[in-house]
């Protein structure tokens, strides 16, 4: 296992200057952590942790200037559970500021570049974690999901990314963005490793009153008996490499003996509109705590209100301010019912339609992203174009169901493509089984072979 760590250290040292996946990494510290690591289910496993998940004694920046040199005095529950199982934190990874973004271009510490093509983004907001796993810097990583922030960068970086059921993994120690949507997620190269990490960190936590007390039970599922269905609306207007690869993936599943039908969930077309009201409204409340008083950067001010206004004005980046303002607007008097109230009703409609789909099918299928990884700077001038990157991923966050992104092929230019599988609430076992079955597909194998050769 120590040979494993030395290989990770070599990869981080040689590639991080270009890729900027890690914000905090120290080789000596990693070796010390590794030698302290206990025996257990994940003995001596190096884990990269997204920098909005607190690790005691390490910096947590959330990709922002506003937290200054903040060092958490406690571990996130997911981190303490990993440590108790013998794993250790190898470093903290880059992200869009406060997890707001789909490209990691909104980080105050520079973009994370895609290991497959450094002129392109690694995706976001968990771009650093995705790039780290793709580039061989760590075998697994933690990220966070609010609208797709694990699945989308997993797709862009040719790795596996899981968003669990809302409430399945404790949010204690995950810096809050949108509390009804947030979940910690897992990046890995195989379904088995994802499941191994998931089963250690998932489960009820008294420190998170929204965590489910339903037991975490790994149960084998026969993937050949799963009833799959393609979400019809995901195909509307879809063309090019993403469409072709999606159809190839479906053909593989059918050829393996699986039944793949089609189902309509019309409300998914409204998911981005619902998401950008609900998530931003909740964010405007959750980010109120960054006020220059108890931690982080403090601006010069002669009154308390000036302290808040100046610290926040100076400390937050443009995207964060934009979203706080959208959220404040949606919750403000005179607009609350028309925007937030309306969005919650459409969200309830989405939940009902997903429930109807899951009464007939076990796993729903869509591409993970509408495009292959785009170039750095390509979408950063148009916030709305960037938001539409989440079009396939946001529905699962809004409805609370688990979903997994799996590598499914490459474009002719050699860029990763990805298939998304969605299961009902607490249906992670079906996702692990379906993902493992999909590992045999030519598309997955091609990505795995090529990824091993990434310089």
């Amino acid at each position: 296992m120590s040979a494993n760590l030395e290989r990770c250290i070599e990869r981080i040292t040689s590639r991080n200057p270009e890729l900027n996946a890690f914000l905090t990494f120290d080789a000596e510290r990693a070796r010390a952590e590794s030698s302290r690591a206990a025996a257990g289910a994940l003995a001596a496993l190096p884990v990269a942790v997204k920098d909005n998940i607190v690790v005691a004694g390490m910096p947590t920046t959330c990709g922002s200037k506003i937290l200054g040199a903040f060092h958490s005095p406690f571990d996130a529950t997911a981190v303490s559970r990993l440590r108790a199982a013998g794993a250790f934190v190898v470093g903290k990874t880059n992200l869009d500021e406060f997890a707001m973004g789909s490209s990691t271009e909104n980080s105050a510490f520079g973009v994370t570049r895609n290991p497959w093509d450094p002129t392109r983004v690694a995706g976001g907001s968990s771009g650093g974690s995705a790039a780290a796993v793709a580039a061989g810097m760590a075998p697994v990583a933690l990220g966070s999901e609010t609208g797709g922030s694990v699945r989308q960068p997993a797709a862009f970086c040719g790795v596996l990314g899981l968003k669990p059921t809302w409430g399945r993994i404790s949010r204690s120690g995950l810096v809050a963005f949108a509390s009804s949507l947030d979940q910690i997620g897992v990046f890995s190269l195989t379904a088995a490793e994802c499941q191994a990490v998931f089963s250690v960190i998932a489960g009820h936590d008294s420190a998170d009153s929204t965590s489910s007390d339903r037991p975490v039970e790994a149960q084998p599922v026969d993937a050949t008996r799963l009833r799959f269905a393609v979400v019809r609306e995901a195909l509307e207007g879809l063309t090019g490499d993403v469409r072709e690869n999606f159809e190839t993936s479906i053909a593989f599943l059918r050829d393996s003996g699986a039944s793949v039908a089609e189902v309509s969930i019309p409300s998914v077309k409204l998911a981005i509109a619902v998401y950008y009201i609900v998530a931003n409204a909740e964010a405007s409340a959750n980010l109120a705590r960054f006020d220059g008083v108890r931690y982080g950067a403090r601006a010069e001010a002669s009154t308390l209100r000036d302290l808040y206004n100046a610290s926040r004005g100076e400390g937050f980046g443009a995207e964060v301010k934009r979203r706080i303002m959208l959220g404040t607007f949606a919750l403000s008097s005179g607009y609350y019912e028309a925007y937030y109230g309306r969005a919650q009703k459409v969200r309830a409609l989405m939940r009902r339609q997903f429930g109807e789909a899951f009464s007939r099918f076990d796993v729903l299928l869509t591409p993970t992203t509408p495009t292959p990884p785009f170039r750095v700077g390509e979408k950063s001038d148009d916030p709305l174009a960037m938001y539409l990157s989440d079009i396939y991923t946001a529905p699962a966050n809004l409805v609370g169901v688990p979903a997994i992104a799996v590598p499914s092929g490459l474009t002719p230019e050699g860029l990763p493509l990805s298939l998304q599988m969605i299961a009902p609430h607490f249906g992670e076992n079906a996702l692990f089984a379906a993902a493992e079955a999909f590992e045999r597909s030519p598309g997955w194998q091609l990505v795995a072979e090529r990824r091993a050769t990434l310089a």
Binding site: S206, N309, Y387
Partner: protein, 97 residues
Amino acid sequence: MTTITPDEVRRIAALANLRLAESEVPRLTAELAKIVAYVEQLNDAEVDEPGREGEATSLALFEDAPGPSLPVDGVAANAPEFRDGFFVVPPVLTGES
């Protein structure tokens, strides 16, 4: 159809305790207007759901008994200004109270 005006942007910024430079206002006005126009498609959706989505189905309670909390020195180490167990801040108001 809600129109987002520069004055509206200044009002929202004040509510959100965000100091904006005047030079930021035109860009933000245009960006917010475009996004708000996009989300207005929700008005076309036919919904009669009660809309109590996201409500907790049960309230988790715990014993009201003292237990460990964050170590004060860990908290103080991150504070911009901390004295005698208090966070030090400027006065709420200037001049006479």
